[in-house]
Symmetry: C2
Subunit: 693 residues, 2 copies
């Protein structure tokens, strides 16, 4: 209690000393002065922030505030009680990642706001201004007039300066697996976008003007602007409500079963609201702003956390060769079949093998909001987990566990410890979790505070058992892999499995948008590596197909970063292209450095990455439905050294639609002075391995 009082005394003093300047505007710039943030307090008490980049408008004056339902108070009129500022400049090393070290360099402004309505509540808004954008969050310190409180609405606004070209997904509290739509901001039409997505089994409509973050704008004056959030813990996922007349977006937090948004207790803080901005598209893809806004790792000894390449008994069920459910016949997760995968994975030097459909329950798992489905510890009778674990160990492969919860999270939580202990007992140290279906507790959403807490709980609990986590159908990632480096990847977007979805599939542009949006939050288990493009291999009636070339599938291992990279296709499909498969055998999953060489959202992307601890580089480039040539300067290589480049590119006659399997593999000697001009077919790409000689 003593600490609280002295803290409030300080605030009170600050308030006094700043009183005369309460109506003024406070401005702070990024270290390089490109980004300017200003915070103003209107005579009516509103507090608004504004962001510019090199003098261009990014966010027009936009107000901040909250509506609480307990205590019932609207926090929208404030007196500025104190303003503090600081500079942060530190460099930190992630456990794994796209780079071996990351600089966190920003200016911080902390504005203490006192509610004018008589509630006695104070809160702080902490802004951090980086060279590539702004992050800000609300903080509710310990104080006499606020302890437990319930958030009815967060009133944060983002007002855009013009009707920008916008890459958006419709707001949906339960799914982030949409294609991105590209329209003017004023042309957002969420309901139509939802209706056309017939392959998303569970849709929770918010409204015609509701859209998701991450959200990307391209302005006519050459700026790229991303709106997203960082470090979402103990708080719901933020969607956005658009007012088309004013081009103003307002936070739309995901509600719980009774309509509340968040249950908080002082001291507490919201996630960061992030605005990443640049006049170079490559800067957006390369931004570390969201990672820098997350807290450092909570795992003291991360030596057991290992990036991995893995295969899976998985895609064959999608394309109709096998089934998850044993009772349906053709049960894929049978001992003999899994041994074949182990053999192939071992022969090719991979680390792990995911096995789905290993456990009882798949006969009746989906669509009925059923609570007791899987127990996570009972293998099907034809799946001899002990013999497979032993066999895998002998071959140097680790099985990867699959925990499909079917959305019944209460069931998973009460069985989680037993399930994790079972993994430990079986020598398994990575789990793919899944949340397909309506959430139980009924009325909660994939994006609500309760589920956000669940994902965190899984990460923390898994760490106690030294388990790595790859979550599917979880909420969009917000950089938490910094804090919980064992939560290595998530799906949380439309991944490669949608190649098999009958309606919209995956468009050629989709993978050129993800790095500007979803992937700003963290690694994605996209599951690249498909080598067969017509998906009628086991069912001739299927018309679904993969809309890339084979070379683009290789490039995705570079352009879509993940420390868990799947090798998604069937052994028999790889065996037809073992020369191209060599790239997947060779490509690393951990990096010392990454450089985004060329990028345009919805069009193309080219990234170079340096292998962790080695002087070898890999380059990946992808394009959308248009063929193009991307000039590539190898000036990132060490000067004076010679490298062998192995180039896996689209053959000259390649075309995702007509001729996807046409690729060319070339070897060349190159140096840092070499410049290449490689053509990408429509829906194509290339991948290069550069090994120092």
């Amino acid at each position: 209690m003593k600490a609280t009082l002295s803290f409030l005394l300080t605030l009170s003093l600050c308030w006094q000393s700043n009183r005369t300047s309460a109506q003024t505007t406070t401005t702070i710039s990024s270290p390089d002065k490109a980004v300017v943030l200003s915070v103003s307090n209107t005579p009516a008490g509103q507090v608004a922030y504004r962001v510019t980049y090199k003098g261009k408008k990014v966010i027009e004056p936009s107000t901040l505030g909250f509506a609480l339902s307990k205590p019932q108070v609207s926090l929208t009129r404030f007196t500025i009680a104190a303003i503090d500022s600081a500079t942060i400049d530190e460099t930190w090393k992630p456990v794994w990642g796209e780079a071996s070290q990351i600089r966190n360099h920003c200016k911080e402004l902390r504005v203490t706001l006192a509610d004018q309505s008589g509630s006695g509540i104070q809160m702080q808004v902490r802004f951090r201004v980086f060279n590539d954008g702004v992050g800000f969050r609300y903080e509710f310190p310990t104080q006499p007039n606020l302890s437990h409180f319930v958030v009815a609405d967060e009133l944060t606004q983002f007002r855009l300066s013009a009707d920008h070209r916008t890459f958006w997904m419709p707001g949906d509290y339960d799914s982030n697996e949409y294609l991105y739509n590209t329209t003017k901001l004023s042309e957002v039409a969420a309901l139509a976008a939802i209706r056309k997505e017939k392959d998303i089994a569970l849709q929770s409509v918010i409204g015609d003007n509701a859209i998701q973050t991450p959200l990307l704008f391209k302005t006519t004056d050459g700026l790229y602007i991303s709106l997203y959030e960082a470090a979402v813990l103990n708080y719901p996922i933020m969607h956005l409500q658009l007012d088309k007349k004013t081009l103003r977006l307002q936070a739309q937090l995901t509600p719980d079963a009774v309509g509340n948004k968040a249950y908080l207790q002082t001291p507490s803080k919201t996630p960061w609201r992030t605005i990443i901005v640049s006049d170079k598209a490559t800067d957006i893809v390369g931004s570390k702003l969201i990672l820098n806004l997350n807290e450092p790792s909570t795992i003291a000894d991360p030596s057991w956390i290992k990036p991995q390449k893995f295969m899976g008994v998985w895609w064959e069920m999608h394309i109709g060769k096998g089934n998850w459910a044993k009772a349906l016949g053709k049960h894929a997760a049978n001992t003999q079949n899994v041994k074949k995968y182990i053999d192939f994975s071992a022969k090719n030097g991979f680390d792990g093998l995911l096995v789905e459909g290993w456990n009882e329950g798949w006969e009746d798992w989906f669509g009925n909001w059923k609570e007791e489905v899987f127990d996570f510890v009972t293998p099907y009778s034809d799946y001899n987990i002990d013999s497979l674990t032993a066999y895998a160990q002998k071959k140097g492969i680790k099985l990867i566990m699959h925990h499909e919860t079917s959305g019944s999270v209460t069931n998973y939580e009460r069985r989680m410890d037993a399930a994790f202990q079972y993994m430990v007992d079986k020598g398994i140290n990575t789990v793919k979790t899944g949340y397909v279906g309506r959430i139980i507790p009924r009325g909660e959403h994939h994006d609500s505070q309760w589920m956000v807490n669940h994902y965190q709980r899984v990460a923390e609990r898994a760490a106690k058992y030294k388990l790595m986590v790859d979550s599917h159908e979880s909420a969009h990632p917000t950089g938490l892999h910094r804090t919980y480096p064992n939560w290595m990847a998530s799906e949380a977007a439309r991944g490669s499995e949608f190649n098999n979805a009958p309606t919209l599939g995956i468009t050629p542009e989709h993978t050129t948008i993800l790095p500007f949006t979803r992937m700003l939050g963290g690694p994605m288990d996209f599951t690249p590596g498909l080598f067969r493009f017509q998906l009628n291999q086991f069912d001739s009636s299927r018309t679904q197909r993969v809309r890339t070339t084979l070379a683009k599938q290789l490039a995705l291992y570079i352009t879509l970063y993940s420390p868990l990279q799947m090798v998604a296709d069937l052994p028999e499909n790889y065996e037809k292209h073992m020369d191209a498969f060599q790239f997947i055998r060779d490509v690393p999953v951990d990096w010392d450095d990454s450089q985004v060489l060329a990028a345009e959202p919805g069009d193309y992307l080219m990234i170079a990455r340096k292998t962790k601890g080695k002087d070898s580089w890999f380059v990946g480039a992808i394009t959308d439905e248009n063929s193009r040539t991307l000039p590539l300067s190898l000036d990132f290589l060490e000067p004076g050294k010679t490298y062998e480049a192995t180039i896996y590119r689209d053959a000259d006659n390649a075309d995702w639609h007509e001729n996807p399997e046409a690729y060319t593999i070339e070897k060349k000697r190159v140096t840092s002075k070499t410049k290449l001009n490689l053509r990408l077919a429509n829906g194509g790409g290339f991948a290069i391995q550069l090994t120092q000689l």
Copy 2:
């Protein structure tokens, strides 16, 4: 699948053969012919049941049915597809109880109903007709047109024949801790009843005409009728909606967070709806109908389940001597204080000692819908659980664990295994659970299906660890102690702690109504044995008081049956009346036989019980606010034997209000021919121990 088809074939054949009689009424009588049930199918397709007792109307024709929300269908018009009947006559032995064996003797009628609306759904209604009433439930067998389904409403009706005198509590999805109101049925006014109960912290109002089961009627033609339910598993608790014009009650199931009532999957069955009826009030109190409708014990070896008398570090916190929360000071659950209780309990031959406030979290546990409160394994620093366990063991006492969940059931479920293992590690084998506060998952209620499943899960999980359970603030019991005999007692009604509630407290009549209502479902941890009646012992400002005499407190050990009986008051209060305390030392908690000798709801009750395995008897008698003399014939004693009767009765000048501590202890030689005429003071009672000489 084969089984299903042959089953349906049988149904189909039955339907054909019964077709011509579909419009007729089918009648079945109890073994003694007193209770008559008839089921009729109206020309419009409604199916109604009717109950009479010795020719008097009990339930007037009342319809049956369901509204499902998935599939969306109203099951209200039926063809009777088959009618089967059977006789059940069996005798079974409970693990513990009011009698060492129980006869289950009834006639059964199973009516198979085919929906007329075109859904193709069939269901069965299984009626059982006992000498003291009727039970019926719905069953949904495996069938081609129904698998998973969601109950929107159960449409079961109970139409009364006249405006009976009614003992009722207001409908409330989260509390059953009301006083009973006694009015004509047409005078039910639930909202007013809720408003006057200012000491119930969480009230979930249903409506002005909503009332709870158990419900009791007394008719002007001399019948006592109880409406209740049995074997509530995987289904919500049933409340009732009253239509005052028609005196018709309709099932009002407790909804979940999204308004659904139950998620079921064929084959499934509802709880039994029970109508207990007699012209003798004693038959209602003594009815075994609800127990007989529950399934046999699931515990193969129940040797570890032991009825117990226990003291508690508990009442002293209620009356202000100590606190649960350590930070508030006067922390009751400190090692030294608990040792004193162990000493006193051991000296007096009790089995257990409950310790509340032993674990961290009480500083901030209530009222904020907070999820992370207790972890159930972290004692306060002044509570040395290991030394206390050792000390208790040396003295022959077992500590009883307290798990207050604060309503945060998700938190409890994810920690339950660790908490139970902790108990095992500490040599503790009984847990008092508590559910004070709004339920998490938010939007669920204490009475909703999800919570009903939780209570069952606790019972089952506890059995795996060989733990006995005493649940507080749980849903009303429905005879499940037969199936889960380790779930020994629950509160689930207004218990003795309400003596300390400032507004209404516990009226003298309350304990004369409980045996006709709440206790039909199972043992209650009422916590009798208060020896001090003014509750200003540690806080002179308190005006609350206990509204009984001391002798009545003794009688409650007989009239309120429980295999877990608390000895609720403080050692220092008992030490002033060690002669009366001798009764509590002597009274057993397990019985070979029980006979209800006299009873009138709201007025008085007298019960005799025979000690398990011994030829000794105990008699308890209580009265309401009126003094009275109850003639007592000891003809239940073995003829020809002599017994010593130790009579603990109100002194002639006793009076709950003026002179509650005035009691007289007398010893007498008696035989089965002895007749006593003992006076009970207003708010008084007596207790007799009869030991064969």
